[in-house]
Amino acid sequence: QQQVKQSPQSLIVQKGGISIINCAYENTAFDYFPWYQQFPGKGPALLIAIRPDVSEKKEGRFTISFNKSAKQFSLHIMDSQPGDSATYFCAVARGAGNKLTFGGGTRVLVKP
């Protein structure tokens, strides 16, 4: 049972371009939707997160768009930089203190 489907699996974008990663979830009880960034050999680092009471959240070059009715959320990386090259994971959770269920990950490569 795959609760979170993430796409694409990999993405190549030119420096300055926009990276877009999508996630779809099944359970409407989820109420927390974070994105994590992971560099090789490192732990996942919390990048940005959204709750279902808003449709968009922006932090610097990173934006989450949330579509509650479609049960989808996406990460937009504006003005992508080579330093953004990493694997990005979406995740979902139901309630504070509860487990995160991760998507399969998207490997992003930003070409200079």
Binding site: P34, G97, L100, F102
Partner: protein, 114 residues
């Protein structure tokens, strides 16, 4: 900025041996978690821990696994008899109590079972 720390960074063990992975969560956090990531795959939940007891565990977390908070700062994951398929990165995470949605991950321990 406070961080979750984990030791060792890399552990090599033989099949059937016991291993203990150690974590020091962020000091004012009260929820603790272990996740694992097999090479190239997604991060998978193992167990969550709150108020000195397991809150939730996954089907991966069988009788070979146990967790403990032996003192006020450490949080450990023990694998009693390791199998080849236990080879993975193991991440500890922690979150605050009030509004504790945000989980902060440690750098991980790479466990290699030979």
């Amino acid at each position: 900025e406070p961080e979750v720390t984990q030791t060792p960074s890399h552990q090599v063990t033989q099949m059937g041996q016991e291993v203990i992975l150690r974590c020091v969560p962020i000091s004012n956090h009260l929820y603790f978690y272990w996740y694992r990531q097999i090479l190239g795959q997604k991060v998978e939940f193992l167990v969550s821990f709150y108020n000195n007891e397991i809150s939730e565990k996954s089907e991966i977390f069988d009788d070979q696994f146990s967790v403990e908070r032996p003192d006020g700062s450490n949080f450990t994951l023990k694998i009693r008899s390791t199998k080849l398929e236990d080879s993975a990165m193991y991440f500890c995470a922690s979150s605050r109590l009030a509004g504790g949605y945000e989980q902060y991950f440690g750098p991980g321990t790479r466990l290699t079972v030979t």
